[in-house]
C-alpha cells in the first residue's frame, strides 16, 4: 500500500511539474489543461484518443527577410495519442501572404508523424510579419492549432515614420520637425537627392540632412547607418490645409523614400472645445432642459508671436436674457499656447426657444491681437420644457 501511495504521489508531482513547465514554456492561459486520464490501479489506462503535437513548435520565426521575399516552413505534426488523428488544412489568415498550406498525410496512426507545410510571401506594408494557417484536427482537446509564421520585414532603407504633421500652425511662426531615415546595408547611408512636391507649401518647405547620433541610431537596432531629415516650414502660408511629399533618393535603393508632409495653418486666435465646429465658429449646445439648464466650457487659444501681449475679453452676448458667457483665467498648458476658458450657460428656468440658423445666440469677443481684433462665436441650442 505504501509503495502504491508513493508511486501515486510521485506521479502527481510529475504531472504538476509538467503542467507548470508547459504553462511557463508556452506562456498561455486559455487552453484547457491537457491532463489525460491515467490509471491509478495498475489496470490498462483508458483510451486517450487522438492527440496532436507540433514537434518543432507552433510558431516559426524566420528572423528577418527582405520585403517581397518568400519562404517555406514545415511544421512536424505527431499523433501522440492512441487513436487515428485526422488532419485538415483550415483557414489561412491571408490568402495572399500564405500561398500554400498543405498536409502531407491527412490521417496519422498513433505515433506517426507528417509535415504541415506553409509557403509564405512577404506582401505587407508593415515591418512585422505574422500570418498563420489553422490546422483542424479531431483531437478532442485541441480541435485547432494555429501554425504561425513570424518575422521582421527588412527594407534596405526606411523612414521611421511615413509622414510629418504640422497642426494648427500660427501663420507667423517657423515650425520644424524631423524624421530619421535608416539604412540596413553595411555601407554608409548617403542621401543622393531629394525633391519637395506640394502645390501649396512647396516654396515654404526646406529640407536638410545630418548624420544620426549613436543614440538616435540605436532606436532601430537592425539599422547600420542613419540620417536625420529636418523639415522647416517657413511663415507666410495662407490659412488652410496643406499636403505634400518629400521624395528622398539614397545610395541604398533605386526606389526613393517618400515622406508625406501634412498639416494646416490656423489663425493666432483659435476656437476649440467640445461640440465646436471651428470652421463656422459655431458651438452646438444641443437640447437644453428648461428645468436643469446647461453649461459647456469651450476655449479660445492664443498662439503665435503676439500671444503674451494679446488680451481677450467678452464684449457682449446675444440674447442678454437666459444666456451668458463668462471668460475664465488664462491657462498655460504648453510653452506656445495660452488657453482662455469660456463657460457658456443657459440657466435653469430659461424660456423655451430654438436658437438655430439665423437665430443663433452670439458671443462677441474683443482682442488686442494686431490682426484679429474681434471674433463672433455662434451658439446653437433648443430649450425644451
Amino acid at each position: 500500500m505504501k509503495a502504491t501511495l508513493l508511486s501515486l504521489a510521485a506521479l502527481a508531482a510529475g504531472i504538476i511539474a509538467a503542467i507548470l513547465w508547459t504553462n511557463q514554456e508556452f506562456s498561455r492561459e486559455v487552453m484547457p489543461v491537457d491532463v489525460r486520464p491515467v490509471s491509478r490501479d495498475g489496470k490498462p489506462a483508458p483510451k486517450i484518443g487522438p492527440k496532436v503535437t507540433i514537434v518543432n513548435g507552433e510558431r516559426y520565426d524566420f528572423g528577418t527577410m527582405d520585403r517581397n521575399g518568400h519562404g517555406k516552413h514545415q511544421f512536424i505534426v505527431l499523433n501522440d495519442g492512441d487513436a487515428p488523428l485526422n488532419l485538415e488544412a483550415g483557414q489561412r489568415s491571408c490568402g495572399v501572404c500564405i500561398k500554400e498550406f498543405t498536409i502531407a498525410q491527412p490521417v496519422l496512426q498513433p505515433g506517426e508523424r507528417t509535415e504541415a507545410t506553409i509557403e509564405f510571401e512577404i506582401k505587407s506594408g508593415e515591418t512585422e510579419f505574422e500570418q498563420s494557417g489553422t490546422l483542424n484536427t479531431n483531437d478532442p482537446i485541441k480541435k485547432s492549432v494555429r501554425l504561425a509564421i513570424h518575422g521582421h520585414i527588412l527594407d534596405t532603407v526606411r523612414a521611421e515614420r511615413p509622414d510629418i504633421h504640422f497642426h494648427d500652425l500660427s501663420p507667423s511662426e517657423t515650425a520644424t520637425a524631423s524624421v530619421n531615415i535608416y539604412g540596413f546595408r553595411d555601407e554608409k547611408l548617403k542621401i543622393e537627392s531629394h525633391e519637395v512636391s506640394s502645390a501649396r507649401a512647396g516654396d515654404h518647405l526646406s529640407v536638410s540632412f545630418a548624420p544620426l547620433t549613436s543614440d538616435e541610431l540605436a532606436k532601430e537596432p537592425r539599422a547600420k547607418d542613419g540620417v536625420k531629415m529636418t523639415v522647416e516650414l517657413k511663415p507666410g502660408l495662407p490659412q488652410g490645409d496643406f499636403d505634400g511629399a518629400i521624395s528622398v533618393t539614397t545610395n541604398q535603393s533605386s526606389d526613393p523614400i517618400s515622406v508625406r508632409v501634412i498639416g494646416n495653418i490656423a489663425t493666432d486666435i483659435l476656437l476649440m472645445g467640445p461640440n465646436v465646429m471651428r470652421e463656422r465658429s459655431l458651438v452646438g449646445l444641443g437640447a437644453v432642459s428648461q428645468k436643469d439648464g446647461k453649461k459647456l466650457t469651450i476655449f479660445l487659444i492664443a498662439k503665435g508671436p503676439h500671444r503674451e501681449d494679446t488680451k481677450v475679453e467678452i464684449e457682449s452676448v446675444e440674447p442678454t436674457v437666459d444666456f451668458s458667457a463668462k471668460l475664465g483665467e488664462p491657462i498655460r498648458d504648453t510653452a506656445k499656447t495660452i488657453r482662455y476658458p469660456i463657460v457658456i450657460e443657459v440657466p435653469p428656468g430659461a424660456t423655451p426657444v430654438t436658437r438655430g440658423e439665423g437665430n443663433y445666440a452670439k458671443i462677441h469677443v474683443k482682442t488686442t491681437h494686431p490682426e484679429i481684433k474681434e471674433l463672433t462665436i455662434s451658439v446653437r441650442y433648443v430649450v425644451k420644457e
Binding site: 506582401k123 512585422e128 505574422e130 478532442p140 515614420r161 476656437l271
Partner: protein, 516 residues
Amino acid sequence: MARYAVLFLLLLSACQRQRGETLPKPKATGASPEASLLPAKGDAADLVPPKESKFAEWPKPAVALVLTGQQLGYIEPCGCTGLENQKGGLARRHTLIRQLADERGWPVVPLDVGSQVKRFGKQQEIKFAHTVQGLRTIGYRATTLGEGDLRLTPGELLAAMAGADGTASDFVSANVAVLGRELQPRSVLIEKGGKRIGVTAVLGAKFEEGLRGDELIHQPPLDALKKVAEELTSQKCDVLVLLAHASLDEARKVAEQVPIFDLVVASGETSLPSNELETVAGTKTRLLQVGLKAMYVGVVGVFDDPQNRIRYESVPLDARFADSPEMLKLLADYQEHLKDYGLDGLGVKPQPHPSGRRFVGSEACGECHTKAFEKWKSTTHATATDSLVTPPNSRGSIPRHYDPECLSCHVTGWEPQQFYPYESGYLSLEKTPRLKHNGCENCHGPGSAHVAAENGEGKPSPDTIARLRSAMKLPLAGGEAERKCIECHDVDNSPDFHKTGAFEKYWKEIEHLGKD
C-alpha cells in the same frame, strides 16, 4: 502520506471534470446564441472556415472584456470583392457584443486601444467622429487616442471626443491629452458584473516622440504610467487593464517595469491578433495584441475560478455576424456627411496629371476603338460607379458615390491610392457623366493629346501621331499592365487578384486589342 494520496485523487478528479467541461458540444442549430457564434463562412470562398469558437463553451464569466483597436479607417469592410469575403467593421462588431451581452447575459466591457483612422484631413475627421459615436452606441467604456488619431488636428479631435455632456471622460491616457490635461482622464474605474476594473492607457515612446502640435500635452509613457499606477493601486480594483498603443515589444517592457496589471492590450504591429495570451516574464500580467484593421475582436473572460481566472479568444468578424441596424444607420449618416461637404469641403482638390494631358471619357475612345469599347462595356469596369450608387450587397441602401476613398477606383481620372481626382477627372454624376465608371483612360492614361492628334488638330506630323498612339499603349509584357491593375486591385480590396495566375485569368475577362 494518505493525505497526499487524497490530494492527488482530488487533483485528478478536478482535471477530469475540467476536461469534461471542455469537450465539444454537438453543433447547435437554429438561432440559439451558440449557433450564432459558430462560424458559417470563412475568410474567403476557397478557405476552410474556422472551427467553433472556444468561448462558445465557456461558462458565464464574471465579466467579459471585449478588446479592439487599430481600426485604421476600416469603419466597414470595403465590399469590393463581396462582404462575405472580408472581415471587420463596426456593424458586425456591434452584433457580436450584443450577442454576448443580450443573448448570453454576460457583463460586457468593451475597450479600444485606439487608431480609429490613419490618414489626415476632413474625411478622416468625419470618420473619427462617427466612429466615436459608434463606440458610444455600442457601449465602449474606455478608449485611447492612437498614433493614427493623433494625426488629426487637436481642435477636431477635441470636438469629436466630447460626449453629450461635453466631456471626454471615456478617452483615457496616462501620457497624452488634447489641449488640457484636465479634459481627459488618466485612468477610469469601471464597475461591472460585481467587479471593479481599473483602466489606463499609454501612447508608446516611438509615437509619443513623434507628436507635433502645440495643443498636445504629452510625456514619456513610463514616467506617466508609474504615477497613474500608484493611483490605480489605491483603488483596490479586481482587474487592472493597460491599453498600450505601442508595439508588442514595448508593451511587454512597460508591463515588466510597471507590473501591476492583470492584462495589457497592445495595439501591436502585426496584421493578426494574438492567438493566445502571453504571460509577461516575472509578472502576473497577461499580454495580447489586437491585430490591424479591427478585423478581429479579442474577448477576455474574467472568472472567479482561481485555477482558470482568465480565458481568451480571438474572434474574426466575418460574415457570420449580421449587420447591426444602428451601425448601418451610422454608416449612412457618415456617407451623408461626405455628400454634404462635397469634394471641395473635404479638401479633395483636383491635381494636374503627371502627363499634362486631360481625360476625354471612354465614349471618345470608343469612336475608333469600337471592339475594345464593346468589350469594356461587357465588363464590370463599365458599371463601376453604379456599384457605388447602389452597392450590390446587403448594404445597398447606402450609396458611396460621395466617398473619395471609394470613388478613386470606381470612376475615371482619379489617383487610385491617394484618393484625389486629376484635373479633368470625374467630379460628380451631374458634372462629369462621361467619366463615370472605371474607363479606358484609367489604365491607358488621359487621351486628350492622342484624340486631338487623330482628329488632325494642330496638324500633327505622322511621327507625333505615332508617338501619341504609342504612349496610350499598356504592354502586357514585363508586368506593366499587371502593376496598373494592382493600383486598384490591391491586397485589401481584391485579394483574389494576388494569387498565382490571377492576372492571366482576369485578363481573359477583359481582353482587348488596340484599334479594330
